[in-house]
């Protein structure tokens, strides 16, 4: 173990870690590759680098669906892809990894707060907005590029997200894009709140907005998907919605239920689902953090299977699963281990991405570093739109 001392800057998250952060990031990446090779039989991508099997011919593009899942809010290797964490992700490892291209080294150089990091994923720019306010991103989102460039209707791009702060993630403040060109955002917990007026105090606890600031809920501003649309767009009565919610154990399960309903009724070409149960780690209860990871692992497989079973999605869907970022390392004295993501250390900045389905080479591991802001240009290449303001680059192994 590296020499340790207590940090003099706990709030500013400075550390005394003796390791070079770049070296730590590379080590994390290498260990993910080794583990996947051993556990899931994946091969290293350098030898196979090149075009994807399906390519992106125009006819294929018109039918193409993309589902993005953020494996949120942030999980570390030691609870997921490292040997001691494998028991927590049986579905990712056993079912999805062998069918995937796995990117071991995804770097997030931005702000490590969930809303701002997810907004950065969605714009391809490291956004600097207030993480705790319901404000739109400064730059056009993937949904705006997709809809404006490809002339797609509003029903073709949707976001299912956990908390009020995410209400504005569907479209930016950018003048040439913005209002009316983004995705419709559904906040299932908020729908539940609306459907259960007169909730108990315990119920309010369930509905608290996020785990980063559990006592504070941003006000929802802008357009909102309401209960009436539940019925008209998703063919779901409030009674059925509530009855089903009563069978579920967590907000992310509710999000997946809504997402599957969306796939069935609207079949959007671009669907973005933000998971959040894992972020209960902020409460400091390790067992609940682990439960969150196991649930998210199961829900990712459930969504993949749903895509295989829906005629509109089967065979033409690319699914991209990635955490928005990691969490602090145990040895970093500026943090408190798994509980937060405040230090900006390598463990909190370095994550992974799993790509599955149409146009994706199966069973391959890629080690070369990519950035989280590379997601939007890659989705652009898959669909055939140009995200002009995005600062990332298309990932060569995904675009063929």
């Amino acid at each position: 173990m590296a020499p340790l001392t207590h940090s003099r800057f706990p709030l500013l998250a400075a550390v005394h870690a003796a390791s070079d952060p770049r070296e730590v990031a590379l080590r994390l990446s290498r260990s993910r590759r080794e583990f996947l090779r051993d556990a899931a039989g994946l091969t290293v991508g350098a030898a196979l680098a090149g075009a994807c099997p399906l390519g992106h011919a125009e006819t294929a593009r018109r039918r193409r669906k993309v589902i993005v899942i953020t494996f949120g809010g942030g999980a570390r290797d030691q609870e997921t892809f490292a040997p001691e964490g494998q028991e927590n992700i049986p579905h990712l490892l056993g079912e999805l990894a062998p069918r995937s291209s796995f990117f071991t080294h995804v770097i997030n150089r931005g702000i490590l707060g969930h809303y701002v990091a997810t907004a950065s994923l969605a714009t391809g720019v490291y956004e600097t907005l207030n993480n705790f306010a319901a404000v739109p991103p400064d730059h056009p989102t993937v949904f705006e590029y997709f809809r404006k460039d490809l002339h797609r209707p509003a029903s073709d791009a949707w976001v299912v997200a956990p908390s009020n702060g995410f209400n504005r993630i569907g479209e930016s403040d950018c003048r040439s894009y913005g209002q009316g060109l983004g995705a419709t955002v559904i906040l299932p917990k908020r729908l539940l709140n609306a459907a259960t007026s007169g909730a108990t105090a315990d119920f309010q606890h369930l509905l608290h907005d996020n785990y980063e600031t559990p006592f504070y809920t941003p006000q929802v501003e802008g357009s909102e998907f309401d209960l009436q649309q539940l019925e008209t767009l998703l063919r779901l009565s409030i009674g059925d919605f509530m009855a089903h919610a009563r069978t579920l154990s967590s907000p992310d399960e509710l999000s997946v239920y809504i997402a599957k309903q969306l796939m069935r009724q609207q079949s959007p070409s671009l669907l973005w689902i933000t998971m959040h149960d894992i972020d209960i780690a902020h409460s400091g209860a390790y067992s609940l953090y682990i439960e969150g990871i196991r649930r998210t692992d199961r829900l990712c497989a459930e969504l993949w299977n749903a895509a295989q079973n829906e005629p509109e999605y089967a065979g033409n869907t690319t699914m991209l699963i990635l955490p928005d970022f990691g969490r602090d390392a145990d040895q970093d004295s500026g943090g408190n281990g798994f509980q937060h993501h405040r230090t900006g250390d390598a463990a909190s900045r370095t994550t992974w991405m799993m790509a599955l389905g149409a146009g994706v080479r199966e069973g391959v591991v890629y080690d070369s570093p990519i950035q989280s802001i590379d997601l939007v240009p890659s989705v652009g290449a898959i669909f055939g739109f140009s995200p002009g303001q995005a600062q990332g680059k298309p990932i060569p192994q995904l675009i063929g």
Binding site: R8, L12, F215, H282, S283
Partner: protein
């Protein structure tokens, strides 16, 4: 306002000892860059309420800074001086509210992508400080004890997974009178080496009988404080325009009396309030309370002895249960709490190893009422198993002598 413009009268709002210290070291404070000076003042302004070890460390740091030549000071702080701050930050009342400055500076560093530069500067500064003013040796080899798993009668999954490679795993200890043996050992250490805040007992539930020689903090004893704090938070979040930063600042300003704490020991009272106002989840979960308090005791008080006993936390109720409007009294989650505490014990050991004398220190984690324990000590081999049926007092003696 820049540090070079600091004047003695600007510290008149500081508590008495802190004000005197600031004035004594004013020339050194004036040499600091703005990105750094308020962070030092954030420590200094609390000087009157700091533990002895913290006071010594702060005085040592200020002495080192005061002794730096201009050239050396330039070298030490060059990287901090290159951090670009906003005019808004420069105009903040960072002398009287350095904690708020720290919050805003943190947000600014993230937003402007300067956090990595600041991290590097801070690492280099801390390394220099450690070399110039190494922490004093521990008065006796430190001892940490974690007691986990209260309320769990059987458990088949492996425990102490992270700690085992650093010590010896004992799967057959004699659990009889285990807690009494452990508290007695701590009391003996406290009697033999008395010093303020040097020997601690933290309990995540109701504290068991213990000697007054131990500084004790327990979750049960602080229930009224927790209730008062949660009521304060509820009243704050209902105020129009309240945001998380302002809420955090208001929490930081709370005094023990604001939360109805009867004054007994100003340093300990303040410490207990901070456990709840600065810790995340400490207000809700007993296991988080125990882990975070241990972390803060080790970081701040740097004790010679620390016993942490975990108790079951309340169960997190699933969504379907909440939706059924089932208003049963909160239930406990002993198995989940055991998992929490197992990780908490690992963190306690890491935090202990950050203190001076780590090569000589000892650590023991025991599954309460059961036969499993791990002992880490320079006297014991690493990564091995011992089937000895030792009692806990014997095991502790083996680890500490």
């Amino acid at each position: 306002m820049q540090p070079r413009d600091l004047q003695p009268e600007q510290f008149s709002g500081y508590p008495p000892e802190a004000g005197k210290l600031a004035v004594r070291y004013l020339p050194a404070l004036r040499e600091l860059p703005l990105s750094f000076a308020p962070l030092l003042l954030r420590e200094l302004i609390d000087y009157d309420y700091k533990f002895p070890a913290e006071r010594r460390a702060l005085e040592g740091e200020l002495s080192v800074l005061a002794a730096l030549s201009p050239a050396a000071a330039g070298e030490w702080f060059q990287a901090f001086a290159q951090i670009q701050l906003s005019p808004k930050l420069e105009n903040t009342d960072w002398i009287n509210n350095p904690a708020r400055f720290g919050e805003e500076e943190s947000a600014w560093l993230w937003t402007t992508h300067q956090l990595d530069a600041f991290r590097s500067a801070a690492i280099a500064y801390n390394d220099r400080l450690q070399r110039a003013a190494p922490p004093p040796p521990a008065p006796l080899p430190r001892l940490g004890v974690a007691v986990i798993g209260q309320g769990v009668s059987s458990w088949s999954a492996p425990l102490f997974r992270y700690l085992r490679p650093y010590g010896t795993w004992f799967p057959n200890v004699d659990p009889r009178n285990g807690l009494q043996h452990l508290t007695a050992a701590l009391q003996a250490r406290a009697a033999a080496h008395p010093a303020p805040y040097a020997h601690w007992y933290i309990d995540g539930g109701q504290a068991s009988d213990h000697s007054p020689l131990l500084t004790c903090v327990s979750y049960a004893a602080l229930a009224p404080l927790r209730s008062a704090l949660l009521a304060f938070i509820q009243s704050q979040v209902r105020r129009p325009g309240m945001g998380p930063e302002e809420l955090r600042s208001n929490l930081a300003r709370l005094e023990p009396a604001d939360l109805g704490l009867q004054p007994t020991d100003p340093v300990l009272d303040r410490f207990q309030v901070k456990i709840f106002t600065e810790g995340s989840g400490t207000q809700i979960f007993a296991t988080t309370f125990a882990q975070w308090t241990a972390r803060e005791v080790l970081r701040r008080a740097q004790p010679a002895s620390l016993l942490v006993r975990y108790a079951p936390r309340q169960r997190q109720r699933p969504m379907n249960e909440l939706l059924s409007n089932d208003d049963r009294a909160p239930q406990l989650d002993p198995p989940g709490s055991l998992i929490d505490a197992d990780m908490g014990a690992w963190y306690q050991w890491i935090d202990q190893q950050r203190l001076s004398g780590s090569a000589q220190s000892a650590f023991l984690v025991w599954f309460e009422g059961q036969s499993q324990a791990v002992a880490i000590s320079p006297n014991l081999p690493r990564g091995v198993q011992s089937d000895s049926a030792l009692s806990l007092d014997k095991l502790l003696a083996l680890a500490t002598t």
